[in-house]
């Protein structure tokens, strides 16, 4: 590196180094003083002189030049960000050029109109264009193909989304139908068993004979089957033994959503005052009472 010790620099002899040190030219850490050749000429006076000689005094109409900054974009950043246009950011850069061109056009068009220079080509004016018609066709084809490709991909995406949604809706409908069927069957069975004599489920017509048979059993409505049996019926549906279907499965065992701690620990509102009244005091309390009685 440049700041290596001067002993490696063989061009300067020791005596010269000593002299330089005494003069104070050698500073710690900087032993090689590089002198840049006078590059980077910037002869401003010469430039100005040249410009003045070179400049042509022509009417604006001959030159058609506009020196203007950009159109202040109300949507995007403020004018201060123009200095911060990142040249690496392609889109931002091109937009800044575009806006500069727009500003120039907006300023120049009124001037041109005043000078009666046409800017728009009339429709019946046919003249040679800078790009041939063939070229323009190619460009149009390319644009069209790009657009088509985009549309196709959009359509495919939409189709996929719709299919997903359709599937979801279909499964929902099927599930709903299953549920309704199940409920209907349960209601029918309930009525069959005589638990409910309401014909709420619409189109079920029971014959009178069947109703008489269950008449005597109607008195047993209130009691009906056991609480345990009723619970199992509600959970697993009606009908007889279905191969152990009224047993717990792993999921139902792990499902503790119907656990009510107050009921389980007998901490809920007391089942009538009976239990409270019948509550037998504990051993210690009984001993105390006995001792007190003695």
């Amino acid at each position: 590196s440049d700041s290596e010790s001067g002993s490696e620099d063989s061009s300067l002899s020791d005596s010269e180094l000593q002299e330089a040190f005494s003069k104070g030219l050698l500073k710690p850490g900087l032993n090689v003083v590089l002198e840049e050749r006078p590059k980077r000429r910037n002869d401003t006076d010469g430039l100005k002189l040249c410009l003045s000689e070179f400049k042509q005094q022509l009417a604006w109409v001959e030159r058609l030049d506009v020196t203007l900054g950009q159109v202040v974009d109300p949507v995007a950043q403020s004018a201060t960000s123009k200095d911060a246009v990142d040249p690496e950011n392609d889109f931002q850069r091109e937009m800044s050029f575009y806006r500069q061109a727009q500003a120039a056009v907006l300023e120049a068009l009124p001037k041109l109109r005043k000078l009666q220079i046409p800017t728009r080509r009339p429709d019946d004016y046919f003249a040679e264009m800078a790009k041939s018609d063939q070229q323009m066709q190619k460009i149009r084809q390319k644009l069209k193909s790009k657009q088509e490709a985009m549309e196709r991909s959009e359509k495919a995406k939409q189709l996929r989304a719709m299919r997903k949604y359709g599937k979801k809706v279909q499964t929902e409908i099927l599930q709903r139908r299953q549920k309704e069927k199940k409920n209907m069957l349960n209601a029918v069975k309930k009525y069959q068993k005589g638990l409910s004599d309401k014909l709420d489920f619409l189109d079920e017509e029971q014959t009178s004979s069947q109703g008489n048979k269950k008449g005597s059993a109607n008195q047993r409505i209130k009691k009906g089957p056991n609480a345990k049996r009723r619970y199992k019926n509600q959970k697993f549906g009606f009908g007889g033994k279905k191969k152990g279907s009224k047993w717990n499965t792993k999921e139902s065992f792990n499902d503790v959503s119907s656990f009510r701690p107050k009921v389980a620990h007998n901490k809920g509102p007391g089942k009538g005052g009976k239990k409270a009244l019948n509550k037998r005091p504990g051993k210690r309390a009984r001993q105390k009472m006995k001792n007190r009685a003695r």
Binding site: N42, C50, V85, I139
Partner: protein
């Protein structure tokens, strides 16, 4: 009207240019009706020969493309009899024929020139602006020109370079579409004369492409060297510093060499080991076979 502003621009190149440069040149000739073409110049001739060529063709401006090493493209813009002239490095060339440039304009229509405000701030930029205006603007009532103004050239200074774009004006509300071509100019020097003379300005931000490539190579090499050095240092660390310790005589004092064994030379071949039959061998073979079958399943 009468054509008064007699500007003629000579656009030509040296030998060794590639297709992109050739197309760019043709595009410029298309867009500028006041331009003239010439054959390729041999690089052996010196640059001031160009002045004579221009005089022969009766041109007072010149755009000269120079290709070096088949990689770098330089562009000279000059006002031929007396100067000034400027040399640029051209980068990022896109021609008219690119399919992403969708605009179109009349052949020979006059352009509107749009400059960045920076062009008015520095004297060298001001000189360049004047040069651009005189070269790129089509004179009014030129016989090959169309009287409409339907496209705009923009010159912007960004990142110490001059960016050129060409847009078509579609509507009166200034909606634009790019026509092309587009290129980026990196100013190298401005000379007082045409293709020679005193240097008026030298761009401090310019780095020649050779230097650029060299720096890239050096940086890569430096990285490699650093990696190697790091590896060596690690090796040294692993080995550990083997400090030389002098011979300690007290170490050797208690060393007693072992008794020498008598040398035995075997004359008779030793007995071979008895072969014990492996009772489990057939079973082992079977298990191996089963394993193989299982794996291939």
């Amino acid at each position: 009207g009468k054509w008064k502003n007699k500007e003629r621009v000579l656009i030509f190149s040296s030998r060794g240019i590639n297709f992109r440069t050739r197309h760019l040149m043709q595009d410029l000739r298309t867009l500028m009706p006041h331009s003239k073409a010439d054959t390729k110049m041999d690089r052996k001739d010196q640059l001031f020969v160009i002045n004579e060529v221009c005089e022969m063709k009766n041109c007072n401006k010149c755009i000269f493309f120079e290709a070096k090493k088949k990689q770098d493209l330089y562009m000279w813009l000059s006002n031929t009899p007396q100067g000034p002239s400027a040399k640029f490095l051209v980068q990022n060339v896109h021609t008219l024929a690119e399919l992403k440039m969708t605009g179109n304009c009349l052949r020979g229509s006059r352009p509107l020139l749009s400059f960045d405000p920076i062009f008015d701030k520095e004297p060298h930029y001001a000189l360049l602006k004047e040069l651009f205006i005189q070269i790129f603007s089509t004179p009014q009532y030129h016989p090959k020109s169309q009287p409409f103004v339907d496209h705009v050239f923009t010159f912007t200074v960004t990142d110490e370079r001059i960016w050129f774009r060409n847009y078509q004006i579609i509507e009166e509300d200034a909606s634009l579409v790019e026509i092309g071509p587009r290129f980026v100019l990196n100013l190298i020097k401005i000379f007082q004369g045409s293709f020679g003379g005193a240097t008026l300005y030298e761009n401090p931000h310019y780095r020649s492409p050779n230097m650029h490539r060299r720096l890239i190579r050096l940086s890569v090499a430096a990285k490699l060297r650093e990696k190697q050095q790091v590896k060596e240092v690690q090796k040294m660390k692993k080995k550990g510093s083997k400090a030389l310790i002098g011979e300690d005589p007290t170490e050797v004092v208690f060393e007693t060499p072992a008794e020498e064994k008598p040398v035995e030379i075997q004359l008779v071949k030793p007995e071979s080991k008895p072969i014990i039959k492996d009772k489990k061998k057939p079973r082992k073979i079977q298990r191996k076979k089963q394993k193989k079958l299982f794996r291939t399943e």
